[in-house]
Symmetry: C2
DNA sequence: CGGGTACTATGATGATCGTCATACTGACTG
DNA sequence: CAGTCAGTATGACGATCATCATAGTACCCG
């Protein structure tokens, strides 16, 4: 269910995804929604974000990139694969929740923020390990993350991967 | 109504915004929804995007920036103002629609794409006028747009303007 | 004044949503 | 074997949504 929710969030946003959709796509039993998610939809969103965050983190940690350029390329290639394999229909599930959630829903927003920060920090860490000074690494990591999130939206709008490629090429210039 | 819809889209996304919300916020009469928007909510979304697109374009055209740095700063300052004046609650209405709309809703997606492209092209044009070679100008403009859209999401998640400022500083490095 | 057009008031419709209560299943514990 | 409990089935609830039909009002043109 969490996995289905995450993919649905990434293609239609959180509010356009109903429990019925999640049930239908995951094959999970209807009756056990509030057994596994006692707090309802909010909890499903939080769990889906957490699941996505961990998945991305695990993928990043599997990287063997040694140079700063390889680090960024590995991160970018991950998002590029999302766009290509979904024919520009999917984006980032975390962003899909972030834009659909009123900013005063503290716990959901906190999960969103934690996900973004974990990715940014992991990326910065890898850049530091590849020889980039810490302060610059943090800034480059954050900019790359923002660039990707924005590029995902542009790709979705255009229906192709071209914007992401163009953004990626520019982001590479930020490296020493 | 269009103005209200646009601001609501930018703070909660398109699907979380009901006609009732738009009515309540705009003070418009309930009975005349389908007089002004015969195609229903889809048309409201398209019109809100068009209105936002034109508003941003008009603001950009009012710029007197002469150097490439000033051009980017003017564009960035606009988004920064959105974040600051809304206390990090608002983002980009076009993005709010883009993520909430299934990718096969062709006419809405076309409006979204047109909005993004018009901004990107206007920005590139100004960069060229400030002396940046055309090819680079287009790439920098697209990257800046993507960076801002992503930064808006990060600011919303964090509740502050810090991510946007960090991204802005890095984007400036792309200029010759 | 008369007629037509633009807009609004009111409220109904069917669908869908999130949420939950109640009852059932099966497997595991002692 | 009796008992417990995680998980599932079924279906109902109030609310809200987008949409529309019908009837009304305001205003402009001649």
């Amino acid at each position: 269910m969490v996995r289905s929710a995450a993919t649905l969030f990434s293609t239609r946003g959180a509010n356009a995804t109903s429990f019925s959709d999640v049930i239908a796509q995951s094959g999970a039993p209807r009756g056990s929604i509030y057994h596994h998610f006692p707090e309802g939809k909010k909890q499903l969103a939080i769990d889906a974000i957490g699941w996505t965050a961990q998945r991305v983190l695990a993928h990043l940690r599997a990287s063997t990139a040694a140079t700063p350029g390889d680090v960024l390329e590995y991160f970018i290639a991950m998002w590029r694969h999302v766009v290509v394999s979904s024919h520009a229909a999917a984006g980032c599930a975390v962003a899909g929740v972030a834009l659909d959630t009123p900013h005063d829903e503290a716990d959901v927003m906190h999960a969103v923020n934690a996900a973004f920060r974990s990715w940014s920090e992991q990326l910065a860490e890898q850049l530091v390990a590849a020889g980039v000074p810490a302060a610059r690494a943090r800034a480059i990591a954050l900019t790359t993350l923002a660039g990707m999130e924005g590029a995902l939206i542009l790709c979705r709008a255009e229906g192709g991967v071209a914007p992401l490629d163009a953004v990626a090429e520019e982001l590479m210039r930020l490296l020493p």
